[in-house]
Subunit: 125 residues, 2 copies
DNA sequence: TAGTTATTGCGAAATAATCGCATTTATATG
DNA sequence: CATATAAATGCGATTATTTCGCAATAACTA
């Protein structure tokens, strides 16, 4: 199944790239001018994930957030990195902080999901 | 509001302590012999969290899991530590691996939620 | 231009967690 | 032990998030 270019795809990706932060489905739906169906947005995002264009973060609120992969040339962001969720402004961003760990023998890590919560630099002041 | 001892409270806590792993509401409901209402289980667990008896983990499936705090005398587990979710047996456990990070200036971390996913030592075979 | 099929829209469905409110029950007090 | 207070519970409804089935649409290929 080869991918096709659609206005929806482009609009979602452009929004994520421009904002530079991780966004949830409903936020994406709000910020995009044109009307895009809820299920479609999820499908577009999940396809982006499959293609390695964006990555999914599950925050402490249990919701899914999506951010473009390595939007800056920071080497840290290309690998596993921490995410920060501000409990004030609700924004979620990729931190340029890599996740380091070593698991006990026998464990095989397939994916990593690390989210720090608190107040971001804008809201701390 | 002072706390009262109830059979439900004791049953839930005993289950968590005995198993030593993190469990979701539905798993707890299944494993407890007596019938306990769904909402009640959530309320009991959230009260435990408030009291610092258990801690909540949000996994990549978006669900909440609860584990007793520092069930062993491992110093690592008393602080922030990684969790492991096996995609085979679905169990979630506290890893004796501490989470180390340093956030950019201005950020204030209030809580940490780190979950590694993959196959556990039993399922890696 | 026509055919193939990826993509979308729509509604329903599945799942998780919470809430309001009446009822029960743990605990303190006389 | 009897009684009062309010914490805890049960139940149903409710909210929220995400997915699914299927028919309709539209992107790409030839
Ligand atoms: Mn990220
Ligand atoms: Mn833990
Ligand atoms: Zn903020
Ligand atoms: Zn396993």
């Amino acid at each position: 199944m080869e991918r096709r270019n659609t206005p929806t795809k482009e609009a979602v990706l452009e929004l994520l790239v421009k904002s530079g932060e991780a966004m949830s489905r409903d936020t994406i739906e709000q910020k995009i001018t044109q009307n895009i169906n809820r299920a479609t947005i999820y499908r577009v995002l999940n396809r982006f994930c499959e293609d390695g264009v964006v990555h999914k973060i599950v925050a402490e609120d249990g919701k899914q957030y999506f951010a473009v992969c390595a939007n800056c040339d920071d080497k840290v962001l290309s690998g596993h990195h921490f995410h920060f969720r501000c409990i004030e402004c609700e924004t979620i961003e990729c931190l340029p902080v890599s996740v380091n760990f070593s698991v006990p023998n026998g464990y095989q890590v397939a994916s990593v999901n690390c989210v720090l919560s608190g107040t971001c630099k804008d809201c701390s002041r």
